[in-house]
């Protein structure tokens, strides 16, 4: 019964999306004016119905209703409740339903509250949103129905992939989807603005909170994903340029560029066509990323999400949505009237440079990710890794970071570099000082050297916009920018410090032996077998002392799962303010010795700390923007109210 209710709600929501598309498009024509009135309510109801459908699926999973095929395939009555709940989206159909639910709710929210844009642009935006949603509804209803019944009803479900039974992973997909959906709203705004050619500050202000919100979620998603790979994969690395990591990085790069160009458009009414294009590109990158992961066209560690047939479906959706949007862009962008002018040395100029650099890095990552495919089409097999991405990316990243330090100090419209020279000389000197000190240490690679030299100066420079301000009256968005830029400097420091100063030790040790790595002395006590719910493990018992301090017990494990047979290593970490000790236990060397892999990674945690700061910066800016929007709405309401009273 609940399954049927969910399916009916999903069909109705899909039908309403169709209605929203038709009414929105006709509403734009001269004769269809009367239809325009239904678009907003339809969008709201569509969101609610889709939400109802998703709630039905959650209920089915929580009750473990095994007559539903999807539940039987992915759940188990003996599973802990939280995994039953999270299992709702721990599979292809459920995750797609979650995506379209968040998307339609966001669309309904926009329909309900967004009143700044011209009504025609709103109609086109909501029609665009309905168009994108329709593709997902069709995908769900025709090729991945989550409510399909199975007969006969099995006695027990098949359980969830053990790798996915991790609380962090349970919330990984929703985080990403919030990010992608935010970008889909930006995409729809861009479509709406292209259709009506109304690109201006109002459009930018309407779009900005969605871009900011999406960017916060993507930043958190990438930060968390990187930390997960770091502690779970047991290689001591935190970024592998794996296709899936790239798929998450590309929308982030596009969203970062969009975030900055939207600010220019909102504040100065410049960069019109460019902002619209980034709005299209950011969501396109989300879709391309999803496609690359789901289709299995590139092999990667995320191979459990692979399904070629569905990949083809996503490709068709992708071709229609992105191809359509870019065609519209080609047709209309030239007639989007030119924005305000500005000098090369100005806040806008710096932001344009940042945008170009981010886009270049995006292009580099996209090219590197697709290159194996390109080579294969020409009959060669290659894989692309850090030796390409790191130096080629740095060519653009380093100038971009320098401009990031100076840009916020420049005035809008036109400025002279001479004016800020006196201010930036202090961070510049700091950069030179650190570089000079580092030059005495040998064995530091070129990129870590540049990173370490820049980090301190960048951190200092990122605080400079606060100089001379009354800190209590400084607007939240400025605090947000400062925090995010400081976070970039902090993360850069962590990355460079990890590459420059990490000490790695691979030893074969007998129980009782002591290993030293950097300032740490680690006593290897013994190996013990331990058993988990669906795995057994060999656990190493070790005592680690930092610089003669108190002993900390650490227990890295080599785990063996039996369904499916799989071996994973659970690293043991000791976190200090100045870095992390990372221990992995490996194979039995055969003669009573065990392979131990130990790293001392100074300040490696700064990478993720920086990531969180960046997201926090976004959050501050978001709160500031939304609060001032609310104030404006309230003030307008008051004026309207007073006028109404005077009129009577």
């Amino acid at each position: 019964m609940i399954a049927e209710l969910g399916l009916v709600a999903l069909w109705l929501a899909g039908a309403l999306a169709g209605l929203q598309l038709i009414a929105g498009s006709l509403g734009l024509t001269a004769r269809g004016g009367t239809l325009a009135g239904v678009v907003r309510p339809v969008a709201v109801v569509q969101g609610l119905l889709c939400c109802l459908s998703f709630v039905a699926l959650i209920v089915l999973f929580c009750e473990t209703d095994l007559s539903v095929k999807l539940v039987a395939m992915n759940s188990h009555s003996a599973k802990p409740f939280i995994y039953k709940f999270a299992g709702t989206w721990g599979n292809h159909e459920g995750s797609m339903l979650l995506w379209v639910t968040v998307m339609s709710l966001a669309g309904g929210f926009v329909a309900l509250v967004e009143r700044r844009l011209p009504e025609r642009t709103m109609l086109a935006t909501l029609a665009g949103q309905a168009f994108v949603s329709l593709g997902f509804y069709a995908f769900l209803l025709f090729s991945s129905n989550p409510f399909e019944r199975s007969s006969p009803v099995p006695d027990e479900g098949q359980g969830l992939n053990p790798l996915l039974q991790d609380i962090g992973l349970a919330f990984h997909p929703p985080t990403l989807y919030f990010g992608y959906v935010g970008l889909s709203i930006a995409f729809s705004f861009a479509i709406g603005a292209l259709v009506t050619r109304e690109v201006g500050p109002a459009f930018a202000r309407a779009m900005r909170p969605w871009v900011l919100g999406a960017w916060i979620f993507l930043t958190l998603g990438i930060t968390a994903g990187s930390y997960w790979a770091y502690y779970e994969l047991g290689w001591g690395g935190w970024w592998f340029w794996d296709p899936v990591e790239n798929a998450s990085l590309m929308p982030w790069l596009a969203a970062t560029a969009l975030l900055h160009s939207v600010s220019v458009l909102a504040a100065r009414n410049a960069l019109r066509a460019w902002t619209v294009m980034l709005g299209v590109v950011a969501f396109s990158m989300s879709m391309i990323g999803t496609f690359l992961v789901r289709s299995g066209i590139l092999t990667s560690v995320h191979a459990f999400a692979v399904d070629p047939e569905r990949g083809s479906f996503i490709l068709v959706l992708l071709a229609i949505n992105i191809g359509g949007a870019l065609t519209l862009f080609g047709l209309r962008a030239a007639s989007v009237s030119e924005g305000e002018r500005f000098a090369p040395v100005s806040r806008e100029g710096a932001l344009v440079f940042n945008n170009v650099a981010l886009s270049a890095i995006l292009g580099i990552v996209l090219f590197g990710t697709l290159y194996p495919l390109l080579a294969e089409a020409m009959g060669a097999k290659v894989s692309v890794g850090p030796p390409y991405f790191n130096p080629v990316g740095a060519i653009f990243a380093v100038p971009m970071l320098l401009v990031m330090a100076v840009g916020p100090l420049l005035r809008w419209r036109r400025d002279a570099f001479a004016r800020v020279r006196a201010i930036v000389v202090v961070p510049a000197l700091l950069v030179l000082l650190v570089a000079a000190l580092l030059a005495f240490r040998s064995g530091i690679g070129a990129l870590p050297f540049i990173g370490l030299s820049l980090a301190g100066g960048l951190a200092l420079a990122s605080l400079l916009p606060l100089r001379g301000r009354n800190l209590r009256r400084t607007p939240l968005p400025v605090w947000g920018m400062v925090t995010a830029h400081l976070g970039i400097a902090v993360a850069l420091f962590g990355m460079a410090s990890d590459s420059a100063f990490s000490i790695e030790k691979l030893v074969a040790a007998r129980p009782g032996e002591t290993v030293s790595v950097g300032p740490w002395r680690i006593v290897f006590d013994r190996i013990e077998p331990v058993a988990g719910p669906n795995w057994t493990a060999l656990e190493a018992r070790m005592k680690a002392r930092y610089d003669g301090g108190a002993a900390v017990e650490i227990h890295p494990q080599a785990r063996y799962f039996w369904t499916p047979p799989q071996q994973t290593s659970e690293s043991a970490l000791v976190t200090r303010w100045n870095g992390q000790l990372y221990a992995v236990v490996g194979e039995d060397a055969g003669d009573g010795r065990w392979q131990l892999r130990l790293w001392w990674k100074p300040f490696v945690t700064m990478i993720w700390f920086g990531g969180i700061m960046i997201a926090l910066g976004g959050l501050l800016a978001m709160i500031g923007r939304v609060a001032s929007d609310l104030r404006r709405i309230v003030a307008r309401g008051k004026i309207a109210y007073r006028r109404g009273r005077q009129g009577r």
Binding site: F291, S295, G311, I322, R341, A343, L370, E376, A377
Partner: protein, 188 residues
Amino acid sequence: MSDPAPEAAEVKPRRWTLWLPLALFAGFVALVLIGLMRPADREVASAMIGKPLPEFALRPAFPGRPGLSRADFVTGGKPRLLNIFASWCIPCAVEAPQLAQLAKQGVQIDGIAIRDRSEDVSAFLARNGNPFVRIGADDVSAVQLAIGSSGVPETFVIDGKGVIRYQHIGDIRAGDVPTILRKLAEAQ
């Protein structure tokens, strides 16, 4: 406009550049379509296939057994398997039953032990069985690199003229045995 207009400005893009994103995207779709059409082939094809074995002569991996040289393959007779292994390699122990099965079916298998000690090799063979006719010792991986092998274990099908016909990377699983047998038959 009376105020001094800034010299450089947001230049209006040329018309054709506006179509550039669409062109790039079309290229992406075309590339992906080609990728989807091609049969899924995730094996690494060896550049050495079709090439003759290089000249080499290795000392025996342990005393009292024959060593291995190129001449042992150029027999004009049946194709042989060349297995690259090491006593310190765990997947090599995993593939031992499959090699034994192949040997039992009459396949002639020669081995090259990589960076190994003779006592370790004999202990390994005592533990896992010895499917090999000859075993050469490659102490510096010279022969291994010369035939295009990058790790252990790897297995080559060599025809009667000493030409490499097939390279299997990684351990031979039970499911790989039919493929190996087919490649041997093709190399006749």
